[in-house]
Amino acid sequence: MKCLSFMHRTTVVLLRMVSGVGLLVGTWLQANTDILVLTPEIPHFQLVVKGLVNELGEDCRIEVVSFDQYSAIERMGWMIEVYDPKLIVLLGNHTLKSYKKLLKIGPASMQLRPVIGLMAVFVDREMRTIRHGAGIHYEIQGLTILTNLRSMTQLPVRRVGVLYRRNLRPFFEDQQSQVRREKIELVGFEIPTKEKIAPKDLRRGLRHLTETEAVDTLWVLNDSELLTPRLIRKAWRPVLKRFQGPVVVGVDQLLRDSVALGHFAVVPDHLELGVQAADLVWEVRRQQWQIPENRFRAPISVEKILNYRNVGYSLLLRNGAELEVDYIVGENF
C-alpha cells in the first residue's frame, strides 16, 4: 500500500513537472517563433526549405513542420496556435487549400497574419482570397525560358509558337506581354477545351504554328492535358519531326530519350527558390510584417538541361554554352 501510494505521488509530481515544462516550452516557442513553415516531406520541397532556412536561420527563428495531404486541418490550426508565428510559409497546393479552409473556421484575427505561398500551381489564383498573402510563382516565366534559350543558341528565337488550352489564355497573354520587352513575339494557338483532346486538334494547332505562322521556336507549356502519352505519340512527335527549330520544355522528363519531345528544358532551381523566398520574408519583416504591394513574384533562378542527341539538325550552340548548362541528358559532366 505504502509503495503504491509512493508511486502514485511520484507519478503525480512527474506529471506536474512534465506539464509545467510543456507550458514553459509552449510559452518559449510562442515568444520565439518568427516563421512557421508547413511543408510536405518531398525532396523538392525540402530543398526549398533548406534554401530558406540557410538564408534566414541566423536572423529569424524558424520552425519547420511536416504537413501533407494526410494531415488534418486541426493539426495545422494547433501548430499555428502553439507557435503563434509572425509569418507563415505554406508549401504546395494542398497546404494552401487547407489553410484557406482553416481561415473560414478560425477566428477573424487569423486573416491578419502574413502568409507566403510557394510551390503551388498558379499561386496567385490559389491565394486570391488570402488578404495578407504573397508568393512566388512555381511556373517558370516565358521571359526567363526564352532569354536563356536565346543565350545558348545561334538560331533565331524571335517568333515563338505556343499551344494552349482556353483556360490558360490569361497565362498566355501575360507571357506574351512580358516577352515583348525582350523583342520576342509569342504566337499562340488556342485548343478548344473539351473533355478529351483529339490528336487531330493538336496536330492542326502545331501545323498552324510551324507551317502557316512559320515560328522559329516552340515553347511547350507544362499542361498535362496536352502532354498525355497518346497525344505525344499521335500529335507532337509526327509534327515536330519536320520542325527545324529549337523546342523548349518546362520539365526534364520530356527531354528523356524515351519521350524526346524537346531539346532544352528550363526547370526551377529549388534551393534558389528557397533563397528567393527568404528575400520575400526579409522584405515583409522590414515592413513590420506587412505584405508588400508587389505580392506575387516570378521565380528568378532556374536549372538548364540540354539534350541535343535527339535533334536531327544542329542546334548551333554558342561557344561555351555547354559550360552554362546544369545537366546534359544522358551525360554526367
Partner: protein, 248 residues
C-alpha cells in the same frame, strides 16, 4: 637458394616502401574555389582539373556550401575574392595568406557599375535604390559590405547566386539596378535586348580573386600551386575573371 629468395623479397619490399609508396601516398594540394560566374561550378571544376592536374580543385556555387566545407575540411588553399577570406578570417579565426594574385588590365581591382533599364541611377539617392547583387557572403554581410562601399547607413539589396539571375531581377523589375563588374557588362548586353543603361561608380571597386594558402601549407604544396597557376592557359584564366596570376 632460400636465402636468395628472401633477399629478393626484402629488396622488393624496400623498393616498394622507399620509392613507390611515397609516390602513391603523396596527395595533391587541395584548393576550394568560390568564384560565382555564368559557368556552372561542375563545368569549371572539370575544366580546371584538366588544366592543372597536379592540384585538386573543387568549385562551389554557393557561399554557405563553401564556408561549411572550408571550415570542416581545412583545404590547403582557397581561391576566392579577398572580401570573402577577410570575412571568414574575422568570423571564424582562419588565417590564410595570399600566394597568387589575380590581375586584370594590369590592376588588382576592378570597378563596379550599376546597370538599370532605360534610365541612369541617381547615386546620391542610392539608399533609396533596390540593388541586385551576386551573393559573395551572407545577406547581412553583403549588406554591410555594400553600405560601407557606398558610404551609407543602410542599403536595400536582393541577393542571387548566379550571374544570369541578376538579369532576371531587372527583367521582372524586382530591383532598380544590378551591381556588376566592368568586365561583365558585355555578358548582360549580349543576353538581353532591354535598353540597359550604365551608371559608373567612380569610387566603388572590388579586389580580384586571390589564391590563398593555409598556415600549415607545406612548401612543396605551395610550389606545386604556384607552378600550376603559373602555367594556366590564358583562355582558362579569363574564365575566372582575370588576365593573369601574379606572385605577390
Amino acid at each position: 637458394m632460400k636465402w636468395q629468395g628472401m633477399k629478393r623479397i626484402l629488396l622488393w619490399f624496400l623498393l616498394f616502401e622507399g620509392l613507390l609508396l611515397p609516390c602513391w601516398s603523396q596527395e595533391k594540394p587541395t584548393v576550394y574555389a568560390f568564384l560565382p560566374s555564368n559557368l556552372r561550378p561542375h563545368a569549371l571544376q572539370s575544366l580546371m582539373n584538366r588544366e592543372a592536374p597536379e592540384v585538386d580543385i573543387v568549385f562551389f556555387g554557393r557561399f554557405r556550401e563553401f564556408e561549411v566545407q572550408v571550415l570542416q575540411n581545412k583545404p590547403d588553399a582557397v581561391l576566392t575574392y579577398p572580401m570573402v577570406v577577410e570575412y571568414l578570417s574575422q568570423s571564424e579565426n582562419l588565417s590564410y595568406k595570399p600566394l597568387v594574385t589575380g590581375i586584370r588590365a594590369e590592376k588588382r581591382v576592378e570597378p563596379l557599375m550599376l546597370m538599370s533599364v532605360d534610365r541612369q541611377i541617381e547615386v546620391t539617392s542610392i539608399d533609396q535604390t533596390a540593388i541586385g547583387v551576386v551573393s559573395l557572403m551572407g545577406r547581412r554581410q553583403m549588406g554591410h559590405f555594400l553600405a560601407d562601399k557606398f558610404k551609407v547607413g543602410k542599403i536595400s539589396i536582393k541577393t542571387v547566386t548566379k550571374l544570369e539571375d541578376l538579369l532576371s531581377l531587372l527583367q521582372f523589375e524586382d530591383v532598380d539596378a544590378i551591381l556588376v563588374p566592368e568586365s561583365r557588362l558585355d555578358y548582360y548586353k549580349q543576353r538581353s535586348k532591354l535598353n540597359l543603361v550604365i551608371t559608373p561608380l567612380p569610387d566603388v571597386s572590388y579586389r580580384l580573386p586571390i589564391l590563398y594558402v593555409g598556415p600549415e601549407a607545406k612548401e612543396e604544396d605551395q610550389k606545386a600551386l604556384r607552378e600550376a597557376f603559373g602555367k594556366m592557359e590564358k583562355g582558362v584564366i579569363n574564365l575566372l575573371g582575370v588576365d593573369q596570376w601574379q606572385t605577390p
